[in-house]
Symmetry: C2
Subunit: 86 residues, 2 copies
């Protein structure tokens, strides 16, 4: 059974985010007011073959721990795991 | 009042995702089995000064339409907007 797992990878709060800073600056240049900060992360949608939602989540966590997230600088969160809608 | 708005930017389904393809390939090389596809997107956390949750969401949508998402290739979704927890 195929599951779609949605994953969010974010920089740890203590880590500087130059991409977010640059985006913040660009927004100010464009005239947007009231933006206090911008932090950029990754969103990943993984389609996996698994027997259960739990197994799909475990596969996603293993994949994040091994490749998708850098454990020194990033946190990951599995937002959702649902059977893939064709 | 400060709100934290969480935004997800994804490639439209019809758009090829070379970064996702490369990640998929890397996972296969690492021995992960059962991965069917990987799609990469962006996750953005915006802190904005607004009078209401609705205003915070509107600001985030304006920012996405103007800079954060490419309307030709990407979709954006405002996942959540909540008062910032200090």
């Amino acid at each position: 059974m195929e599951f779609t797992v949605q994953i969010r990878v974010t920089l740890r709060p203590s880590i500087l985010d130059p991409q977010g800073k640059a985006t913040h600056h660009a927004l100010e240049q464009l005239g947007f007011e009231g933006i206090r900060s911008v932090r950029m992360g990754k969103f990943i949608a993984l389609r996996v073959e698994a027997r259960s939602e739990e197994e799909a989540r475990e596969m996603a966590a293993a994949v994040c721990g091994k490749l998708l997230a850098n454990p020194v600088m990033e946190d990951f969160e599995i937002e959702d795991a649902v059977p893939t809608v064709a």
